[in-house]
């Protein structure tokens, strides 16, 4: 029968909006306002999932994010969502979900066999076995891996969109129950900017599960909620975030939230809205009103479908209009569960209360008795039958010691057990914020320890251990006002108290575990199948620290992170170890409070918006002319420009040759550029670079290397003095951001007295570098700058116009040819480039990319930092002794040169290598040894750092030519003393190549061409 457990009326569901959904292949009906869990209960679906380890049948247990059992795979295909709580899925039309971790079906699961062998699989059994034979562990592991895990990951990319945003507020109120609403109201009325975040589809918290008997401010609680929300919505500075869980509480009152924007609509129904929004909130003040979570009771077979939390049963009845059981046993040690009994009986259920307390008394008990509810006091459930759903429980009297069972066991048939072991304040966020907890013996719960907080927050209501409604409201009002005042709003005095129905409660009787006969399973952690006997075993084996127990028994390690299990486990450990509960300690609560999808954290920064590709102004030309690109940092740079059917090898040979024969052009815009200004700029550069800068003339350029504190090369580039206090620094492409951070770090932390300002201008300038014998001719017709070598010498800058636009032209060279780096504002970059290409035709201009750039500089023995150096190289190691000033009093890294190992002879030094076989290009990274028959392991002398085919270099054997000849650079132990030596390069495939050590400058050793 459809929705056989649906009540004829009541609940916050919309009976005019029936929805159909599919669970495990069967179609069911529910209503708008249902959760998947409530709809399943309405349809009398009892077994919803299988447990993690023993594959025991499990049903819906709670009504919120503390659910340990009813975990399902939502939807299929690309939009699938594994490990989703049925209790938190809002029903939508055509929803489809399946049980996970079971085969072939949830009713009949092969792996339930584990349950039979349960005795062989106590806590930590895997540490004791699977060790023989040793070789088989990987096989065992394969089986364990398959059996473990829960849901299935999607197989296709996520079709949804996400957003991640930042926001700020004066007061953040977390939780929209009575305490939170009162706090938001009090804070909002001061004019403070307030955010009220609530995880549910509508605020109200526990009040949503109430009947109209409960009154606030003289009317039904639900009316008060609506009115309060209306007032809050009218306040311009108040924002109510529904379906928003605060997931993390970090330092400096920085919190993260997950807002489910369209999850409740179903796949593809969100239109332009993102599926989820990740909100990062900086709040001046925080009010935590996160409520409390009901504690399960730990008794024999307490995990069977049909055993539920009493408050959840009440929620299903009142909020969702479903009656989870017709004949129900309410098992409790406190007053709150009586409300469940009362509400259920009124709707026609048969209810028996099993109360652990002797002769419970008080208002709620009297009311229950008046309704004819049978109350068995001083009683507990000692056993339960019904593998696929509760059929019967056995009840017995409990002795005064709390463990002895007295009298005869009495069986009760029933189809539902609603249990309550008391309440645990939801202190997770408080604890994440650095707050400490205190055990309150009267209330039998951990509550926030008052006192100066690391992060300014106030806990109010149930999460503060204040369990009565008037108290919650009063605390909320007071905290809201105080928080607003601390944020600079209002007087701090709370508004007039709000009257509400008081339900005085008699004390509970602590009942952490219920004795049973024989060795029955008593679960404290449902999701991870952890039982009392596991805790006992852990203690027996000496795992007494709470962290050891947790890790050994997997308590609290599930997706619910122990929301229902942690405190019970602590209390049971206390009993086992003969200690007080607080002496056992607590484990650390870690974010997130509930799981957060990675998509949401990523937000909009994905696909084309993920670390956006940086391109230069010349990109359209590069693309149009067939460039093959490579990633350098975030940039796409042309690697080479193949013509016709050329491969990289052929293209690069052609480009290299053309550049040395006529003129080559490369897009150098990606080089890091930093504008450095200020009266101390020269002094600053003296410290940053190893060579002298103070006397560099205006208009002149100089090459410099920067060292780490260890004296090791860390970046290099040419810096130019534009005016007395104004420099233009260039860095490597990949190192630009690092250098900028480095400069700022020194300025801000070590030399704050220096007046120097650094600005990244990488993107402001487009740079074309032309080099080759015809470079000057090409430039001549395009600029008003006097290019005469006397007027514009090597290592100088001139400003003027280029092709009608303003330009800075640097005469610097990375190829060893006459070369100019033409800088124009980026908006003219393409214009500059096209002009050069057009006019260059007459000079046989050849465009080249990074690969040719690398070959040309290698021909000249110029290093690439990070390729020919690796953070263990000093300038001396790479043959640049000349760049290290002997005169300067100090520069970064100088002191390290006096260290014995840094100063020693015979370090690894940069050398050139010629292969005996001129056509063989050594693999970069290959290692150099001194034996022709290397047998690893052996000590290498060094390794090849750069290796290319060059069309311009002539080897010792006289070989060069169109096919090129191979050249390599290497870091070689005592390299400079090995010039001319024959050594060997050991390839990974076993081949050995003979090489001759040579100077790393392969071409134009005298540097005549540069100055030409």
């Amino acid at each position: 029968m459809s929705q056989s457990r649906r009540l004829v009326k009541g609940g916050r569901i919309d009976r005019d909006k029936p929805l159909s959904f599919v669970f495990n292949g069967k179609t069911y009906q529910g209503y708008e306002g249902d959760t998947l869990a409530s709809a399943l209960i309405a349809n009398d679906v009892r077994v919803v999932a299988r447990s993690f380890k023993y594959h025991r049948p499990r049903g819906v247990f709670s009504a919120g994010s503390d659910e340990p059992n009813a975990i399902v795979q939502l939807e299929e295909g690309a939009a699938t969502q594994p490990d989703t709580l049925a209790t938190c899925i809002e029903l939508y039309d055509n929803l489809s979900a399946t049980s996970q971790n079971c085969w072939p079906s949830v009713e009949f699961d092969i792996n339930e066999i584990n349950s039979v062998f349960m005795r062989l699989m106590p806590a930590g059994f895997y540490y004791k076995t699977f060790m023989w034979p040793a070789k088989l562990w990987m096989w065992y592991e394969g089986i364990i891996r398959k059996a473990a895990g829960m849901g299935l990951a999607p197989k296709h990319p996520d079709p949804d969109r996400y957003e991640a945003i930042h926001t700020h507020c004066d007061v953040l109120v977390v939780g929209g129950g009575p305490a939170g609403l009162a706090a938001a109201l009090a804070a909002g009325r001061t004019g403070a900017r307030v955010i009220l975040a609530d995880a549910q589809c509508e605020p109200g918290g526990d009040l949503l599960a109430e009947t109209d008997e409960l009154e606030i401010a003289g009317e039904a609680a639900s009316n008060w909620v609506s009115k309060t929300l209306a007032e809050l919505r009218d306040m311009p500075e108040v924002r109510i975030l529904e379906r928003t869980t605060i997931t993390g509480y970090y330092d400096y009152n920085w919190l993260t939230a997950l807002q489910k924007v369209t999850d409740h609509m179903g796949p593809d129904k969100g239109g332009n809205l993102p599926r989820q929004r990740f909100i990062k909130i900086r709040a001046r003040q925080v009010v935590l009103a996160t409520g409390a979570i009901e504690r399960p009771l730990v008794f024999a077979e307490n995990d069977r479908p049909g055993v539920m939390m009493a408050s959840a049963v009440r929620t299903y009845i009142n909020r969702y209009g479903v009656l989870p059981g017709r004949s129900m046993v309410v098992f409790t040690n406190n007053d709150t569960a009586y409300q469940t009994a009362i509400d259920a009986v009124r709707l026609g259920a048969q209810v028996t209360v099993v109360d652990a307390r002797p002769a419970p008394q008080g208002d709620v008990v009297t009311r229950a008795e008046a309704l004819g509810i049978q109350i068995m006091d001083r009683s507990v459930i000692t056993n339960l039958h019904g593998r696929m759903g509760v059929k019967c429980v056995t009840v017995q009297h409990l002795g005064e010691d709390g463990t002895t069972l007295l009298g005869k066991p009495i069986p009760f048939s029933c189809d539902l057990v609603a249990m309550s072991g008391g309440w645990n304040p939801t202190v997770h966020l408080f604890s994440q914020s650095g707050g400490k907890l205190r055990w309150d013996d009267d209330k039998t719960m951990f509550v926030p320890l008052a006192g100066p907080a690391i992060n300014p927050s106030r806990s109010v209501g149930c999460c503060n251990g204040t369990m009565d409604l008037p108290g919650c409201l009063a605390e909320g009002l007071a905290a809201g006002s105080k928080a607003a005042k601390d944020a600079g709003f209002g007087t701090g005095r709370a508004p007039k108290a709000i009257k509400a129905t008081a339900r005085p409660e008699a004390p509970l009787r602590p009942l952490w575990e219920v004795s049973c006969h024989g060795h029955k399973s008593r679960f404290h952690d449902f999701q991870n199948d952890s039982k009392v006997s596991d805790l006992e075993l852990a203690s027996l084996e000496g795992m007494v620290s709470v962290e050891h127990t947790k890790r050994y028994t997997a308590t609290g390690m599930g997706t619910d992170q122990g929301k229902t299990s942690n405190v019970n486990a602590l209390a049971i450990m206390a009993r086992i170890q003969g200690r007080e509960i607080p002496a056992v300690g607590t484990t650390t609560f870690r974010p997130p409070y509930t799981p957060v999808s990675f998509g949401a954290i990523t937000g909009q920064d994905r696909r084309e918006l993920f670390e956006q590709v940086r391109t230069t102004a010349m990109q359209p030309w590069h693309v149009a002319n067939g460039a093959v690109f490579e990633d350098v940092g975030d940039w796409k740079r042309p690697r080479y420009f193949p013509q016709g059917s050329e491969d990289m090898h052929a293209a690069v040979l052609r480009e290299c040759k053309a550049t040395r024969d006529s003129v080559g052009i490369v897009d150098a815009s990606t080089l890091g550029k930093i504008d450095i200004q200020g009266p101390d700029a020269a002094k600053f550069l003296e410290m940053i670079y190893t060579n002298a800068w103070a006397k560099l003339g205006v208009g002149r350029c100089r090459y410099g290397v920067m060292l780490s504190e260890h004296g090791m090369i860390f970046d290099d580039g040419v810096t130019t003095r534009l005016s007395d206090n104004h420099y233009h620094m260039t860095t490597t492409t990949g190192g630009a951001a690092r250098v900028m951070g480095w400069l700022e770090e020194w300025l801000q932390t070590e030399w704050p007295e220096m007046e120097v300002y650094c600005t990244s201008v990488t993107e402001q300038w487009s740079v074309a570098s032309i080099s080759g014998p015809k470079a000057r001719d090409l430039l001549a017709g395009l600029t008003d700058i006097d290019l005469d070598p006397e007027a514009f010498p090597f290592m100088a800058v001139r400003e003027g116009s280029f092709a009608g636009v303003p330009a800075r032209i640097f005469r610097i060279s990375f190829t060893g040819e006459v070369a100019y780096e033409i800088n124009v504002p980026t908006c003219y970059g393409l214009h500059m480039w096209e002009t050069l290409m057009e006019h260059g035709k007459a000079h046989d201009i050849c465009v080249y990319g990074t690969e040719t750039l690398h070959v040309l500089r290698a021909e000249k023995g110029f290093i690439i930092v990070g390729q020919d150096t690796d953070g263990t190289c000093t300038p001396m190691d790479v043959g640049m002794d000349w760049i290290v000033s002997k005169k300067k009093a100090d520069f970064i890294g100088k002191r390290s040169f006096t260290r014995s190992d840094t100063a020693r002879e015979g370090r690894k030094q940069l050398v050139g290598l010629f292969t005996d076989d001129p056509s063989f290009v050594l693999p970069e990274g290959a290692h150099i040894v001194d034996t022709a028959t290397p047998k690893p392991p052996l000590r290498a002398l060094g390794h090849v750092t750069s290796s290319y085919m060059s069309p311009n270099v002539t080897g010792p054997d006289g070989v060069n030519g169109d096919k090129g000849r191979s050249i390599a650079m290497a870091l070689l132990q005592d390299g400079r003393n090995r010039m001319g030596d024959t050594l060997y390069v050991a390839l990974m495939d076993g081949r050995v190549k003979t090489v001759t050590v040579t100077d790393p400058v392969f071409f134009d050793k005298e540097g005549e061409r540069t100055h030409g």
């Binding site: 993390g248 330092d251 190992d901 690893p936």
Partner: protein, 432 residues
């Protein structure tokens, strides 16, 4: 690698006189008595007045050191002092990646020695540490990365550490969920098949149990608060449980090493920073090997329980707080979703942090100190879990003989004075 010292698996279980052996049979037997007769894994002794050797720090490295002292060198009058619960430092917080494909000879020697020991560790300790050599793959996303893995692979080859270059197609077969054509296209990779993961807690527990059974006193909740040093010689330690005399003392305190050195009047070239990790909810297996990428600063593996285990780089500021800033995680999650698009719908279940002790060159300090008989084994930073057996083994040998074991020798604190740094960082920004 040549393996001086120990032949793994050379000693065997029968020597465990004091503890009964774990096996499927003992499980069966104990299940009959409802597991009520298992022995304690380790005793909980009060500190004796004096020990031959005191190890400060009950993490994996400290416990391993104690174990090898007893097992290899017959020095059993040993105490491990742990201020909290054993294994609760970085040992119990790390992402458990084990590999030895380091670039520099000194590192390769140390970590490969560890792998040799990992391979038989479960049998040696009679405790399943779940060492799972499922393979560790480093991805290359650009030409520079290709050069880097080229050098790494070749260096491994020369050091006889296993390394294989892998093409993008092979990568796709091994890791079907990867998106090769992502923002930073995957150009290739280098695979170490002997690398993998292990179960961190089990390593601490296994060593503790084995050391205890050889007579080592493991004393938890015992915090060292000072040293007793006379005329430049260590005499003992001060603790919250009184003064304990010692012939030799080994400091193995990871994130708190600076604090301990300070007690001995020294400064170490170490900064302690938070390093974070996080896991997803448990899933059926989707990734069978460990995949690391230095370019995107992220790595992933899947635990036997089904959680995806992620980590990134350490926070950029110093702190002892064992918690880090969220933006560090964001920087990891973004690239991960880019590289593995299906992760988008998966969820972060738990994040945490540890305090890592990072030296100037990011390599450990395994060393004597200016105080006679006071030794340090610290500075393992972001990547010391994988070294646990090797580190313990060579440190024990050094403590026993008073002279640093050849594998440990290059890691002397002296290198920070001489400049003979062992700096892997230039090649690998993520050093796990």
């Amino acid at each position: 690698m040549p393996n001086p010292g120990l032949t793994p698996g050379s000693m065997f279980l029968s020597e465990y006189a004091m503890k009964s052996k774990y096996s499927i049979f003992s499980l069966l037997r104990n299940s009959l008595s409802y597991h009520q007769n298992w022995e304690r894994k380790w005793r909980s002794p009060d500190p004796k007045p004096a020990y031959d050797v005191i190890i400060i720090g009950g993490g994996g490295h400290g416990l391993a050191t104690a174990y090898y002292l007893a097992r290899q060198h017959g020095i059993t009058n040993v105490a491990v002092l742990e201020k909290s619960w054993l294994g609760g430092g970085n040992t119990g917080r790390n992402t458990t990646i084990v590999r030895s494909n380091y670039l520099l000879n000194e590192s390769a020697a140390m970590y490969d020695h560890a792998i040799d020991l990992w391979e038989n560790l479960s049998q040696e300790l009679n405790y399943n540490v779940m060492f799972s050599p499922r393979g560790v793959l480093h991805l290359a996303h650009n030409v520079h990365d290709m050069q880097e893995i080229g050098r790494r692979g070749n260096s491994n080859y020369i050091n006889d550490v296993d390394a294989e270059f892998i093409t993008p197609d092979q990568i796709k077969t091994m890791v079907p969920i990867i998106n090769l054509n992502c923002r930073y296209p995957v150009m290739g990779g280098v695979l170490q098949r002997r690398g993998g993961t292990a179960r961190h807690d089990a390593v601490a527990w296994g060593y503790a149990r084995a050391a205890d059974s050889l007579g080592v006193d493991i004393i938890q909740n015992c915090e060292v608060t000072g040293f007793d040093i006379k005329k430049g010689v260590i005499k003992g330690v001060k603790t919250n449980r009184g003064v304990i005399k010692a012939g030799k003392v080994g400091v193995v305190t990871a994130g708190h090493s600076g604090v301990l050195a300070d007690m001995a009047g020294m400064r170490l070239p170490i900064e302690s920073t938070p390093l974070q990790a996080f896991v997803s909810e448990p899933l059926k297996p989707i990734i069978d090997i460990v995949v690391m990428s230095n370019t995107i600063h992220a790595y992933v593996s899947q635990s036997d329980k089904g959680e995806l285990v992620f980590g990134g780089s350490s926070d950029p500021y110093v702190s002892y707080s064992q918690r880090g800033a969220f933006n560090q995680l964001e920087h990891v999650v973004g690239p991960l979703v880019e590289l593995y698009p299906i992760f988008s719908r998966l969820r972060m279940m738990r994040q945490w942090g540890g305090t890592v002790d990072v030296t100037l060159d990011r390599s450990p300090i395994v060393s004597k100190s200016p105080v006679k008989n006071l030794f340090f084994n610290v500075g393992w930073g972001t990547g010391g879990f994988k070294a646990t057996p090797g580190s313990g083994h060579v440190f024990a040998a050094s403590l026993a003989s008073g002279e640093m074991h050849p594998i440990a020798a290059p890691f002397s604190i002296d290198r920070h004075y001489t400049g003979a740094l062992i700096d892997e960082a230039a090649a690998a920004a993520v050093a796990h």
